[in-house]
């Protein structure tokens, strides 16, 4: 039977607990959000001992199901002040699932200034004082932990940003190449830092295959599911070839590529930072155009990017990062953007929040538009070192806007708005406004239907149908985030009729249950409502479900679109 591992950092004790019946059917986001809602006082300070940091693999993680190896991390967010779930690939999720660990709950905080590491194994968790690796970047931590405990050790770590409790700090997860994937958004690295935990190691010794109630049925469903993933042109061909960065040119053509801190919708230098250019560059320099963030990913949207000398620069080089440091900061040098991506991984800071922040910092005059060298300097000399300026920058877009008196600050609930302009792609604006997570494109990715013609088509420039589209996608996404599946399974799931039933069949075969499509839908609704209730108790109500005013008053070229939803229309979202 799966267990809950509980770690108390106040009295430095650990426990292994049975899984309460109410949590048995939950995994991933459904479980982290349920635990946070049940155990964290919504009004607590996110960096206080009252907050809890929860890790949970998904319901299908550890099985042979394709793309099921994602790990959810949850807590109250120091950035948004609301509930947070952020999921990532890497090796940790599958290791935890195979060790029979349903969730790790970390509570309390040390009473002294000492720092610790947690060692997770089949037998439980031990808490060890850590001195040697303090202050180090994430790559050095991963190398050192491997040297100490063995190459196969799983690692969750924070960099200097997390140690300094910056609200843009993330939690890094070791990937199969000993590089990094991130629980990026919402400042969860600061929560780990507040508990004075530098890293968590996972020893896979004693890991067993997860039990499957009906192996034959599982195999059939898993095969149908993989086939759907490979058959769909987006997951089967587009993502592996160009990665997510293929979107630069598409959004630029559609006039929805936020440029120069969201003042225009197209970027002159788009071709230099596009997915097509990146693909050719990677191939020419001997990098890897396709690569998976965890074993069992058959889509492989990730890649390994090399410099001119053919040396590793970064991997998992995503559209949102390239858009943000590129178009939004007017930088058309992909090599410098790749270097910044690597630095952000090492410092342990969210690459979306930080990219949006740099756009605001340029508007504030901290550095010039397009100055990629100064951007790199600010990352290494200010943010990584935690100078006063570095801490302001490491607080994210809203922090810089507030400190420097900038009014054009693209955030919702304090979290930076990513790579799609809500004026010219209106569905995603509804997602930014209403998501329980703050501005987050992944929580209801209407771009699929607004721009990519996946799951039908809803005109991005009109208001019609956007609230319903965002609602349906947010409900489905909350459920998918509970399975351990990568969200890109949504592309085939929206178009190929066999895909979603196969996913549900896998869950049923794994646990010997009989969920229907309605049950899965209800799970998604339950998760959103649980998160919303936490947020309301924390003081985030419908008045926080709004985009910044400038989207209403500043039309964005080329379509001269404005954000024109009324408050009542936005609030319709929650009618379910």
């Amino acid at each position: 039977m799966d267990k809950i591992f509980r770690v108390n950092m106040t009295d430095l004790t650990t426990k292994i607990e049975e899984v309460p019946a109410a949590w048995a059917g939950l995994g991933g986001r459904g479980l982290t959000s349920t635990i946070v809602a049940a155990e964290v006082p919504p009004t607590c300070h996110a960096l206080s001992p009252e907050n809890k940091l929860v890790f949970a693999p998904g319901l299908l993680t550890g099985t042979a199901a394709a793309n099921s190896g994602r790990l959810s991390a949850g807590a109250k967010s120091p950035l948004t002040g609301g509930i947070k779930e952020s999921n990532a690939g890497g090796t940790a999720a599958q290791m935890l699932a195979k060790l029979g660990i349903k969730a790790i709950i970390i509570e309390g905080a040390p009473k002294t200034g000492a720092w610790y590491n947690l060692a997770v194994s089949a037998n439980g968790v031990t808490i060890n004082e850590e001195k040697e690796l303090l202050g180090l970047g994430n790559f050095a931590v991963i190398d050192a932990v491997e040297a100490r405990l063995g190459k196969k050790t799983g690692v969750l770590t924070i960099g200097p940003a997390g140690e300094l409790k910056m609200t843009a700090a993330n939690i890094s997860v070791k990937d199969p190449d000993s590089k990094i994937r991130s629980h990026g958004r919402g400042g969860l690295g600061a929560v780990m830092g507040s508990k004075q935990i530098k890293f968590i190691s996972i020893d896979g010794e004693g890991a067993k295959p997860v039990t499957i109630a009906d192996p034959e049925k599982f195999k059939t469903a898993a095969r149908a599911f993989s086939k759907a993933l490979l058959d769909h042109p987006v997951s089967g061909e587009g993502l592996p070839t160009y990665g997510t960065n293929v979107l630069v040119n598409i959004l630029n053509e559609a006039g929805g590529l936020p440029t120069k801190n969201f003042t225009v919708g197209q970027f002159e230098g788009h071709d230099k930072i596009s997915g097509e250019t990146m693909h050719d560059t990677i191939v020419a320099r001997g990098g890897k155009p396709k690569h998976g963030c965890h074993a069992g990913c058959i889509i492989q949207c990730s890649q390994v990017y090399h410099d001119k000398e053919g040396k590793y620069v970064t991997s998992g080089f995503e559209y949102e990062t390239i858009w943000g440091l590129g178009a939004d900061c007017c930088i058309d040098n992909l090599d410098d953007i790749a270097r910044a991506d690597n630095l952000m991984d090492d410092i342990g800071i969210d690459s979306i929040e930080t990219a949006v922040m740099f756009g605001v910092a340029m508007e504030a005059g901290i550095l010039k538009w397009g100055d990629s060298k100064e951007m790199l300097r600010l990352l290494t000399d200010e943010i990584a070192k935690g100078t006063a300026l570095g801490r302001v920058l490491g607080g994210g877009a809203a922090s810089v806007g507030r400190t420097y008196g900038v009014t054009r600050v693209p955030v919702v609930k304090n979290q930076g708005i990513p790579a799609y302009d809500p004026r010219s792609v209106k569905g995603i604006g509804i997602t930014y406004a209403t998501s329980t997570m703050g501005a987050d494109h992944t929580s209801g990715y209407t771009i699929a239907t607004n721009i990519l013609n996946v799951g039908g088509y809803v005109d991005p420039l009109k208001k019609d149908g956007q609230v319903e589209l965002s609602r349906n996608l947010q409900i489905a996404t909350a459920a998918v985030d509970s399975t351990g599946m990568c969200i890109f399974v949504a592309f085939p799931a929206l178009d190929i009729p066999e895909c979603l039933p196969a996913l549900i069949d896998m869950i049923n075969a794994r646990f010997g249950i009989a969920l229907t499509g309605d049950d899965v839908n209800n799970l998604g609704k339950y998760i959103l409502k649980t998160e919303r209730e936490f947020n309301q108790k924390a003081g985030l109500t419908n008045v926080h479900d709004r985009l910044p005013d400038f989207f209403k008053t500043e039309p964005v070229a080329p379509h001269n679109a404005v954000w024109d939803f009324t408050d009542e229309e936005i609030d319709e979202f929650w009618n379910f």
């Binding site: 587009g238 070839t241 960065n245 293929v246 053509e253 771009i447």
Partner: protein, 74 residues
Amino acid sequence: MQITLKLFATFRNGRFKVAEQELAEGTDVRQVVLSLGLTEEEIGIVMLNGRHGELDSKLSHGDTLSLFPLVGGG
């Protein structure tokens, strides 16, 4: 009439990124697609002057037509 034709992702292989094209009046998107040796099924997204277009959309002088295979990200 003249239009600007932009191709993206795999459509560029063996073709071009962007080209000016001289077309007969009344040409529609489908005819341009077929003239490139592409099939209707291969077309993921048609954009005409930055808005979603259809294979049946008629082209006018000065239009920008952008063709994408089905691709995505997020």
